[in-house]
């Protein structure tokens, strides 16, 4: 898989691109179910997604193979990052870091 089709995966999410990215980051340190993902994102990003937004993003991520569902725990399905999801996340974070570096460099020289 090359870098281009990894980034396309999140780009095609439209308004769910940001929730999808935050969900991938949340799952990067281990499987979580929907509620735990919401709480984790609220803790590290200070953003709290509603259930509709959360599951619209989860459904897209799962349909594209970026996350996978584990066996249900009670009624709640934990999700884990797949290899494909990990690669997509690495590519997206690298892209964000590159842009941030340019911005910081320009601010420093301003």
């Amino acid at each position: 898989m090359n870098r281009r089709d990894q980034s396309v995966d999140l780009d095609e999410f439209g308004r769910f691109a940001e929730p999808a990215l935050l969900i991938l980051i949340s799952l990067a340190d281990g499987p979580k179910h929907g509620y735990a993902v919401t709480e984790d994102i609220a803790a590290f990003a200070d953003v709290r997604f509603g259930p509709g937004t959360l599951y619209a993003a989860i459904a897209r991520l799962e349909a594209r193979g970026l996350i996978g569902a584990l066996d249900a725990d009670d009624r709640r399905n934990p999700y884990e990052l797949t290899t494909r999801g990990e690669k997509a996340l690495r590519a997206r974070l690298a892209s964000i870091q590159a842009v941030a570096r340019v911005g910081q460099k320009r601010l420093a020289s301003a």
Partner: protein
């Protein structure tokens, strides 16, 4: 949330955990709007939770061909394949050919029969609308497809009859 508010496929896959997530939460207007937005998304973007993985470069040529075929018949849905594009094209070409054959086969009348002319002129449009099932409407629930196609064909039929009536002597 009303279970009928989301498509059955979405409900089967995510319904239980979605309800488990919202059950302990205090209701707020913001949450309500978010849930409604999610339900609308589930109905209007069914391909978003049933799409195959993104295409690789190796599949690019096939995708381009499929897109070209789809654009020539009836727009396209995210899951439409080359075979779907061909089916859609077959409906359009088939309905056009049948219309032309019927037009030549029927006995000619001086000035033409207004209703017959109206229907034969629009014959290919009926095939075009039906072809959407394989292209633009692919991935939508069967009931939605039936309502859309049936509704458009009904409107088309009414307009065709109206055209015949307007042209009648």
């Amino acid at each position: 949330m009303d279970a009928e508010a989301v498509p059955p496929r979405w409900r089967r896959r995510y319904g239980a955990e979605f309800l488990a997530l919202i059950a302990p939460q205090p209701f707020s207007i913001g949450t309500g709007f978010d849930i409604i937005g999610g339900a609308i998304d589930a109905w209007t973007q069914p391909q978003s939770y049933s799409s195959p993985r993104a295409a690789t470069y190796e599949e690019g040529d096939k995708i381009m061909l499929a897109k070209a075929l789809r654009l020539r018949c009836a727009g396209y849905g995210e899951k439409a394949t080359i075979a779907d594009g061909l089916k859609g094209a077959a409906w359009i070409l088939g309905s056009t050919v049948v219309t032309v054959i019927v037009m030549f086969w029927l006995p000619r009348e001086p000035g033409g029969h207004p209703y017959r002319v109206a229907f034969l002129s629009n014959g290919w449009l009926f095939g075009f609308v039906i072809s959407m099932r394989y292209t633009f409407l692919k991935g939508w629930p069967a009931r939605t497809q039936a309502v859309f196609i049936g509704g458009v064909i009904s409107v088309l039929a009414v307009l065709t009859v109206a055209a015949g009536w307007l042209n009648a002597p």
